[in-house]
């Protein structure tokens, strides 16, 4: 019988039985968000830090999620290390967590990480005592540098944020997995269940996704699909796939065939 505790995901000092991390944005409404996150089985949920709407109050996403999930604030939207570090400090004050999903983007069209600012921000955040989970390119050198700086995980993109194009460079992801001892989590680009399964089959420790579920026609059902995909891909990785060959290899016995 499969025991998820026997194959838990450990990031920094915390252990999780789910290897799926999920966003809280872009759902049709709060109830669908809560139902989807519940169906995904995810234990880590990402949130953004934004200026309050000075025109009005209302409940925050945290009022809905608090207590049931490990909340991971992000620095989405930041273009500089300076803004990312301040956002992380504001998140630490608002949420009383030193965990941060570090994002520093280079432009709005690609939302690609700016490696220079990302590395500077990561170094400063580690120095200030944050548990840093950086969203980064699928570049083995950048990932290695982030690991060397003391990040708790590396989170390379499969393809651009929200693109749904899946994992465009699985070979790089395999290299990143092989070269780093810390968790490797695919962050961004997941479009459907097979993308999440592939990430896990490549040896990744987890998958972080948002749009693939929240913008699906039926988010709750897609969340269920992602849960199974991540678990299936993880099992397949641990089971060890058969090698690819150019020629067939019969699976039925070759002896005793009638007419021979």
């Amino acid at each position: 019988m499969y025991n998820p505790l026997e194959d838990a995901l450990t990031i920094a000092d915390k252990t999780f039985t789910s290897r799926l991390l999920i966003g809280s944005a872009q759902y049709p409404n709060n109830q669908v968000m809560l139902d989807s996150i519940g169906a995904s089985g995810a234990q880590i949920v990402t949130v953004a830090i934004r200026r309050v709407d000075l025109a009005g109050g209302g409940e925050t996403v945290l009022d809905l999620l608090e207590g049931d999930y490990h909340i991971l604030p992000n620095t989405a939207g930041c273009f500089t290390a300076k803004d990312a570090v301040l956002t992380a400090e504001l998140a630490r004050e608002a949420l009383e967590t030193n965990w941060i999903k570090l994002e520093v983007i280079g432009d709005r069209e690609t939302l690609y990480p700016d490696a220079e600012h990302l590395l500077n921000a990561a170094a400063e955040m580690v120095r200030r005592g944050f548990i840093v989970l950086p969203y980064c390119t699928d570049d083995p050198i950048t990932c290695r540098k982030l690991a060397d700086l003391g990040c708790a995980a590396v989170m390379p993109l499969g393809s651009p944020i929200g693109s749904g194009m899946g994992i465009l460079n699985p070979y790089n992801i395999e290299i990143i997995r092989a070269e780093n001892a810390i968790p490797v989590i695919i962050d961004a680009g997941i479009g459907t269940a097979s993308d999440a399964a592939l990430a896990m089959e490549l040896g990744c420790d987890g998958v972080l996704l948002a749009s693939a579920v929240s913008r699906a026609h039926d988010p709750v059902r897609m969340a269920t699909a992602m849960r199974h995909a991540v678990e299936g891909g993880r099992h397949a990785y641990r089971a060890g796939r058969i090698p690819r060959k150019r020629h067939a290899q019969a699976s039925s016995p070759q002896k005793g065939v009638i007419g021979t």
Binding site: G23, S24, A25, Q26, Y27, M33, T46, V47, A48, I49, R50, R51, V52, L54, G56, G57, T60, V61, L62, D63, I71, P73, N74, A76, K82, L86, T87, E89, L90, A91, R92, E93, A94, L95, I161, G162, A210, S211
Partner: protein
Amino acid sequence: MSSIRVNGEPKSLDVATVDDLLRAEAVDPTARFVAVAVNGVVIPRGRWDSERVKDGDDIEIVRPAPGG
């Protein structure tokens, strides 16, 4: 009156402390999950009623929002 920026908006407000500012801007200072930075430095909640607002201050008031 202090000429300050609040979440990017220039404002002239008659407030002495960060706590006053929050109330003036209709943000409940006792609400959870709110954080404030003045000139790029986070002011812990426990200092909101003593931190003076000065002319030219650039103040950010944030809280968590749905994110990916």
